[in-house]
C-alpha cells in the first residue's frame, strides 16, 4: 500500500529536523502548527550557516568575487523558486519580499494603482486571510473602489452561483488556493478560466498551498501568486511574489530605494527592470540561500509524497477525532478529505479554543487557537476563535493520538 511506504519514508525524515531530537530529549513534543510556521531540516539551517561563514557580501553591486558569489547564491534561489512553481521565466518573474503579506501588498499597490479607479470592483472571498483582505482595504481608502466577496457554504466550499455576475463587474479576483482555517482547496484553475473570460486578473494566495502541493502556475492559470518561505521548511524573513512578466512590467514600483532604480535625479527616478524594480534595498540574501536548500529538500522528498502523507494523516485525524470525541467536537471545513489540505480547525464543546490550546500545551501538543488572521471567516462561522491542528511531512499518527488524548483531558478539566 502506497501510504505505508510513504509513512515509512516519513519516519526516517523526522531525524532530518534537529528541533525534534532537541526538544523531545527533555519533554513531550507534538508539533501540530505547521500552518502557522514549519520546522527546519538541518540542510536549511546549514545552508544559511555556510552562507554567513563563507560567502556573505551585499549583492548586485560588487565587482569583487565574494559579492559575485553572494549574487549568484541569491539569483540561483530566485531561479530555483521559479522552476519550483513552473514559472515560464524564472529569473524575471520572481520578486523576493519579506513574506507573503508583503507580496500581496505589492500586488495591491503595484497592480491595483494601475488597474483600479473609484468605479472598479475587486472580488475577494470571505475565507481570505487578512493578508489578502487588508491590503485591498488600505488601497480602497486611497482610491475608493468597491470590494465584493464570494461567500462559502456550510461545508466551507465557495458558493459560485453569482460568480459570472460578480466577475463581470470586477477587475481583480483575489483568492486563496487553500484556506488556512477550513483547509478548503479552492477550484482556482476553473476560477482563473472564468475570470479571464471577463478580463479579470487573478491574484492567488499560495501561502498554505505551495508548501504542500506540487504547484504549476500555468496549470492554475493565475496571474499572480504570493508565497511565504517559513511555512515550507525555509527561513523567516523571506517570501515572494510570482507574476507573469507582462504583469510585472505593467505594475508600478512600490517600495523605493537602492536596487529598484535605473536612474535617480533630483527631480525624479526611472525604475529598473523586472524583477529588480520591486526589490528595494538589501534583500534577504541568507534567507534566499536557506529557501533554495528547502526547495531542494522538498523536491527530494517529492511534493506528491508530501500531499499523500498530509491527506492520509488528515483522514486518520478526522476519524480519530470523531470516533473518540464524538459530539464533543465540531470540525469546520469540508468533510471530504479530497477537498481539503492538512489543516483541521475545530471547537471542543464549550471549552474556549484558548483554553484548549493551553491544556494541550501541558501535554506537549502544539496547536494554534484564535482567529487565525481570518476574522471575517470567523464571523461567518459564528465563532470568535477556533483551535487548529495542522500537519506536515514530519508528523505521524502518534501526533494525532497525542492530540486526541489531550483533547479528552481538556474536556474533562472543564466538565468535572
Amino acid at each position: 500500500m502506497a501510504s505505508v511506504e510513504v509513512t515509512d519514508q516519513i519516519d526516517k525524515l523526522r531525524s532530518d529536523f534537529p528541533i525534534f531530537a532537541d526538544i523531545r530529549a527533555s519533554r513531550p513534543f507534538y508539533y501540530l502548527d505547521s500552518a502557522a510556521s514549519s520546522q527546519h531540516p538541518a540542510v536549511v539551517i546549514d545552508a544559511m550557516d555556510r552562507y554567513y561563514r563563507h560567502s556573505h557580501a551585499n549583492v548586485h553591486r560588487g565587482v569583487y568575487g565574494l559579492a559575485e558569489e553572494a549574487t549568484g547564491i541569491y539569483e540561483n534561489a530566485r531561479k530555483h523558486l521559479g522552476r519550483f512553481i513552473g514559472a515560464n521565466d524564472p529569473s524575471h518573474e520572481i520578486v523576493f519580499t519579506k513574506n507573503a503579506t508583503e507580496a500581496l501588498n505589492l500586488v495591491a499597490q503595484g497592480l491595483g494603482r494601475v488597474l483600479l479607479t473609484s468605479e472598479s470592483h475587486v472580488l475577494l472571498t470571505e475565507m481570505e486571510h487578512h493578508a489578502n483582505l487588508v491590503p485591498w482595504m488600505i488601497l480602497q481608502e486611497q482610491l475608493g473602489f468597491t470590494i465584493e466577496y464570494l461567500p462559502f457554504d456550510a461545508e466551507g466550499l465557495l458558493v459560485l452561483d453569482d460568480l459570472d455576475a460578480m466577475l463581470e463587474r470586477a477587475s481583480i479576483l483575489g483568492v486563496t488556493l487553500m484556506s488556512n482555517v477550513l483547509g478548503t482547496l479552492n477550484p482556482v484553475a476553473m476560477l482563473s478560466e472564468r475570470a479571464h473570460q471577463h478580463d479579470v486578473l487573478v491574484v492567488a494566495d499560495g501561502a498554505q498551498f505551495v508548501p504542500h502541493f506540487a504547484t504549476d502556475v500555468s496549470e492554475l492559470g493565475v496571474d499572480c501568486l504570493a508565497i511565504t518561505a517559513h511555512k515550507m521548511l525555509a527561513p523567516t524573513g523571506i517570501g515572494a511574489l510570482w507574476a507573469r512578466a507582462e504583469i510585472l512590467d505593467r505594475m508600478q514600483p512600490f517600495l523605493g530605494g537602492g536596487e529598484m532604480i535605473s536612474d535617480v535625479r533630483l527631480d525624479g527616478f526611472t525604475a529598473n527592470e523586472i524583477p529588480h524594480k520591486f526589490e528595494a534595498g538589501t534583500p534577504p540574501i541568507a534567507e534566499a540561500a536557506g529557501w533554495d536548500a528547502a526547495l531542494g529538500y522538498l523536491e527530494k522528498v517529492g511534493m506528491a509524497t508530501i500531499s499523500a502523507h498530509d491527506r492520509s494523516l488528515t483522514n486518520y485525524a478526522m476519524i480519530q477525532l470523531q470516533e473518540r470525541l464524538d459530539d464533543r467536537i465540531t470540525i469546520f471545513g469540508p468533510p471530504d478529505v479530497t477537498k481539503r489540505g492538512g489543516v483541521i480547525s475545530f471547537e471542543l464543546a464549550d471549552v474556549h479554543p484558548h483554553d484548549v490550546a493551553q491544556v494541550l500545551d501541558q501535554h506537549g501538543v502544539c496547536v494554534r487557537a484564535g482567529h487565525h488572521c481570518a476574522k471575517p471567516l470567523m464571523r461567518q462561522l459564528g465563532v470568535g476563535a477556533t483551535a487548529r491542528a495542522s500537519f506536515y511531512l514530519y508528523n505521524d499518527e502518534q501526533d494525532v493520538d497525542a492530540l486526541v488524548d489531550a483533547l479528552l483531558d481538556a474536556y474533562r478539566l472543564f466538565h468535572d
Partner: protein
Amino acid sequence: MNDLDDLYREIILDHYKNPRNQGVLEGPTVHAQEGFNPLCGDEVTIYAQVEDDVVVDIKITGQGCSISRSSASLMSQAVKGKSIDEVKATVSRFKRMIAVEESEGEPEEVDLRVIGELAALQGVVKFPVRIKCATLPWNTLMIALEDAQAR
C-alpha cells in the same frame, strides 16, 4: 500540571461558566466600550453606568476564553458601586498583582485581603500570553471611565 491547576482555579471556572453581570445597559449615563484582543479574537463590551462619579451599574457582553470572561465577571463584582477613584485603585492593584509590566520585574506582593476574589486570577502570571486575556476587560473599563470623566 500544577501550574495549570493554578490557572484554572475553581473560582475561575465558576465565573467562566456562570458569569456575573451579563447583559446590556442603556441610557444617558451609560458608557459603552468595545475591546479586542487582536491575538486571539476575544471581544468584550463593557457598559458602565456612571452617576456622580460612581459606577452604579456595570454589564458585560462578548466572547472569550475562561480567563478573559472570568476576569470580566470578577471585575464587575469588584467595581460595582465603587467611586471612579476606588475603581482606579482596584485596577492598579489588580495589574500589579498580575505584573502587566512583566518584563520590568517580579509581580508585586499585593494584599490579598484587599483584592478579595480577584486573587484567583494570580495564576495567570505564569502564562504571559494569557495576561492579555485577563487584562482585556480591565483596560476596556478604563477607557469607558475616561470617557465618562471627559464628558
